[in-house]
């Protein structure tokens, strides 16, 4: 009788212990984006919204920390060698989402499809660029390790795609971790207005890449917090390379000033705000400079024209397509753009002679040499001496996220690369 009661009590205790407390649902991170989701693939396709989940599903061998030092992810060890080569060693216990081990061969295939050449040496891999002018650094940071499995790429990241529709993608953590995010949903809304409204209503709890102007909507909302991180891109004017070098040097000192920033952005914060501003407002005499602007850059173009004084010519506010057409025909002097500035190795993607994103045909042998040597400081100096662009304002990446996340930070390279380590308040 007594034994029976004790057994019942024990059973009850176990049952109660194993039952989740009522009303405490597992935390789900719902990321609001706007536009079509697109496909999530390991190869770079930054225009697809689904690519925001790339660092969660497809790991890279290494990323960069805030000091531009290589930090291993899937690699156990990573080291820069001379001659734009990188030596790395793969983690031996890494596995793909189907449970199979990540092999050196998988890494070789993945890196080669990312434009890298890989040499195996016992347990280490030596990586170098196979594309002339593109540094191994920049390519390695974009290359994600994957394996084709039944025609679909699988990754080794902590998350795996569990379901997807045109409007939503669900990712679940492969091995659940207490106190961390285990369930992520990327929800595609039609417009930013919808995305914001659903976030305010609590249907979503993370929006990344907000303009500072729209933060007003989220201020004072108790369930959300604002997270910032220095952006990788800067609002800039790219010059027509036909402009004399002296003019371009003068334009850099003229346009990268606090006065232009204030005219263009008002009180919005730029990373360059604290920099000493040049008060040189004089441009050498010459023809009026034509400015092209598109999208959100009209005020920036107008501010530049005012700064240029007598050299400020017509401002053409165009569609992106019209802008590209004018650039190709070299029918402009300055054009607004938002080129990538960080990490410095990415300079090669834009400014090296003949690179795919070098739309204005900039060419500087000193820059090319420095890039080829992986000497970013030398490349920067060479660019300053013969500038292809005037950088005006590097703006923060801004996100709003659920207050229950204790340590939300945006990654220096991929915005959500730190998400797997975000802690959730219980």
């Amino acid at each position: 009788m007594v034994h029976s009661s004790v057994h019942r009590l024990l059973l009850l205790t176990i049952l109660v212990g194993c039952t989740a407390p009522p009303g405490r649902e597992a935390f789900v991170l719902r990321i609001a984006v706007w536009g079509p989701l697109g496909e999530l693939a390991p190869t770079s396709n930054q225009s697809a919204l689904a690519s925001i989940a790339q660092p969660l599903v497809y790991e890279k061998l290494a990323t960069l920390d805030a000091d531009e030092q290589l930090k291993p992810i899937l690699a156990a060890r990573v080291e820069r060698l001379s001659g734009d080569r990188i030596q790395l060693e793969l983690q031996r216990d890494a596995s793909f989402s189907d449970g199979t081990q990540v092999t050196d061969l998988d890494v070789v295939h993945s890196l080669e499809s990312g434009g890298l050449r890989v040499t195996q040496s016992e347990r280490t891999l030596i990586v170098e660029s196979s594309q002339r002018g593109l540094p191994a650094d920049a390519l390695l940071l974009e290359a994600r390790v994957f394996r084709q499995q039944e025609g679909k790429p699988i990754g080794s990241g902590p998350f795996v795609v569990a379901a997807r529709t045109d409007a939503e993608m669900r990712l679940v953590r492969r091995v659940r971790r207490a106190g961390r995010i285990n369930d992520v949903r990327i929800i595609a809304y039609t417009t930013p207005r919808d995305a914001f409204a659903h976030t305010l209503r609590g249907d979503a709890n993370l929006i990344v890449d907000l303009e500072s102007r729209w933060l007003e909507f989220f201020r004072g909302v108790p369930s959300l917090q604002v997270v910032r991180r220095a952006g990788r891109n800067a609002d800039a004017f790219i010059f027509n390379t036909d402009l004399p070098r002296a003019d371009r040097v003068q334009l850099v000192s003229l346009l990268g000033t606090q006065r232009v920033r204030e005219l263009a952005y008002g009180t919005a914060e730029c990373a360059e705000s604290a920099e000493a501003a040049s008060d040189e407002w004089a441009m050498p005499a010459g023809t009026a400079l034509r400015l092209l602007s598109w999208g959100p850059f009209e005020r920036l173009a107008l501010a530049a024209r005012r700064a240029l004084g007598d050299r400020g010519g017509e401002v053409y506010h165009l569609t992106p397509e019209e802008t590209i057409a004018r650039m190709k025909s070299r029918d402009f002097d300055l054009v607004t753009a938002r080129p990538i500035r960080w990490p410095r190795s990415s300079m090669a993607l834009i400014w090296r002679t003949g690179s795919a994103n070098n739309f204005v045909g900039y060419s500087n042998a000193a820059v090319d040499r420095a890039i080829d040597a992986g000497d970013w400081t030398a490349a920067e100096i060479a660019l300053q001496q013969d500038p292809p662009a005037a950088f005006v304002c590097t703006r923060d990446h801004v996100a709003v996220v659920d207050v229950r996340i204790r340590n939300p930070t945006l990654g220096p390279y991929d915005l959500l690369e730190t998400l797997p380590e975000w802690e959730v308040a219980q």
Partner: protein
């Protein structure tokens, strides 16, 4: 009733009479305070709404004035298109500025102004659209004459600043402001949750009221908001842009002061009541002790008076007997013996009466007693006395057994006392009835006689000590007080109904025992 209970009752009476009226007064005062507080809150909210509306009106007026100044200054210049665009750098709140002419392509025209209104602007009239949501913030298209026929300077006013102003209004911790356009669409909300309705253009609970307010209908100062909460609201409207502003605060927060005061007062009243009770109880017990002491002295005096009187009477008789005995006349011997026997009996009863007073009833020692049998036992006990008085005793039992619990000895003393009184009051040849019945919630032993009855003016003091007027030599006035003492000690009562010349009925009521169905193991009988 024990001294403690009596003291508590006294203290409670004093406390209640002192604190409760104050409490009632305070509650009444607080209700007035609450109403005044609500009124003051509503006035305050209304003032905030009016201020916000005034700021919004001023802001829009300033923007339009700035636009007019720009148009007047440069709208007629040959390079007006470029200068108008340039000047937008200095007036970011004017949003997109442009010079409009008849040749301006449709994509460059203000989106919310129809062609006929653009035409009116080109003819020299100032025109403005209603506010609308452009991208994510409210906007308003305005065109003003450019100082040259066929030209107008148009702007899409960026009203984000107004949205900020409304969103930043805070009243207390939970109060916020809402702004509605002419149609009742929410355009700015201080409540984060309601901003979704701003973006999606969804109506909220206040939308209808806001739209009505713009048309001159008053809006309520207390309402249930979209979240189902009772809120106080202050309203203001702006005829020109057609906006209405509501500033809301949850009732519970707005009236927190009055509620706190009520809470504190209630707590204070309870504490005061408890303290009053505690102090009152202590003092009442002291007073009762003093009173009891005084009463004891008074009782002792009364006893002494009675005893002196009665024993003096007995002493006189004994002196007469002594004088008779001193005559040494053998013929008087039987009379002396009878008289002595009678006096000894009287003194024995006298002592017995006092002895009864010393015995306390202890509920722990109570035993079950069946009243029908008990009455028969009493009858037998009083039979001898009744015979001497030539009176019969008749028992009228209850239809079924009726059980009580008690000290059988004391109850018998009480019942015998009532019976003997009834016999003494009865005329020879008459009968005394012992009636057993179930009364109101208790068992009743009624003793009835057909004697002369009790004078009405004596009934009130009949059960008080030493109140007997018989004083026939055997009564010291302790019998009926003792009966009452015994009845009360058993949780019962004793009462009397009497009519002069018709007789009296003394009723001893006792609580019935819990279980009437089962017989106790030791039914009470006379010893």
């Amino acid at each position: 009733m024990t001294r403690r209970r009596l003291a508590l009752l006294l203290a409670a009476l004093v406390a209640a009479s002192g604190v409760l009226p104050l409490l009632l007064l305070a509650v009444f005062g607080l209700e007035i305070l609450r109403k005044r507080g609500e009124q003051a809150s509503q006035e305050s909210l209304h003032a905030i709404a009016e201020q916000a509306a005034a700021r919004i009106a001023t802001y829009i007026a300033q923007q339009r004035e700035m636009l007019r100044a720009i148009a007047t200054a440069i709208g007629g210049e040959p390079d007006a298109p470029q200068r108008v665009r340039d000047i937008s750098l200095d007036a970011p709140s004017l949003g997109k500025l442009r010079l409009v002419t008849a040749e301006t392509p449709p994509r460059d025209l203000p989106p919310m102004l129809k062609p006929d209104r653009i035409a009116a602007a080109l003819r020299g009239s100032e025109v403005a659209s209603d506010t609308y949501l452009a991208e994510l913030s409210p906007a308003m298209d305005v065109c003003v004459p450019a100082g040259k026929t066929g030209r107008a300077v148009c702007a899409t006013l960026d009203l984000l600043e107004l949205q900020r102003q409304v969103q930043r209004i805070r009243v207390g911790e939970q109060g916020y402001a809402l702004a509605f356009d002419r149609s009742g669409r929410l355009v700015a909300a201080g409540s984060g949750a309601m901003r979704a309705a701003v973006l999606r253009g969804e109506p909220v609970a206040e939308s209808v009221l806001a739209a009505a307010l713009v048309n001159g209908k008053p809006a309520p100062a207390r309402l249930k908001n979209g979240e189902g909460r009772d809120v106080l609201a202050g309203w203001a409207s702006l005829p020109e842009p057609g906006w209405s502003i509501a500033v809301e605060q949850p009732v519970e927060e707005a009236l927190r002061g009055a509620r706190s005061a009520l809470g504190f007062l209630s707590l204070g009243a309870v504490l005061a009541l408890v303290v009053s009770l505690a102090i009152g109880t202590v003092f009442a017990r002291r007073m009762l002790t003093a009173l009891e002491l005084e009463e004891r002295f008074r009782t002792a005096g009364r006893i002494a008076t009675g005893v002196t009187h009665d024993l003096g009477h007995r002493l006189t008789i004994l002196q007469q007997i002594e004088q008779l005995a001193a005559m040494n006349d053998a013929d008087y011997l039987p009379r002396i013996r009878e008289s002595l026997a009678a006096e000894v009996g009287t003194l024995r009863r006298f002592v017995a009466d006092f002895s009864d007073l010393t015995r306390e009833a202890k509920p722990a020692d109570f035993l079950p007693i069946e009243l029908n049998a008990f009455a028969e036992s009493v009858r037998l006990g009083a039979q001898g006395y009744a015979k001497e008085a030539n009176v019969t005793i008749e028992v009228q039992p209850a239809p079924s057994k009726l059980w009580v619990r008690g000290d059988r000895y004391l109850l018998e003393r009480a019942a015998l006392n009532l019976t003997r009184n009834a016999i003494e009051a009865s005329k020879p040849g008459s009968a005394v009835h012992l009636r057993i019945e179930r009364g109101h919630g208790g068992a009743v032993l009624a003793v009835e006689d057909r004697g002369q009855g009790v004078e009405p003016d004596r009934i009130a003091t009949l059960f008080e000590s030493f109140s007997s007027t018989k004083r026939t030599g055997v009564h010291v006035g302790m019998g009926l007080p003792n009966v009452r003492r015994i009845a009360v000690a058993h949780g019962g009562t004793v009462s009397v109904k009497s009519k002069p010349g018709e007789g009296s009925t003394f009723t001893l009521s006792l609580p019935v025992s819990g279980d009437q169905s089962s017989s106790p193991s030791a039914p009470a009988t006379m010893p």
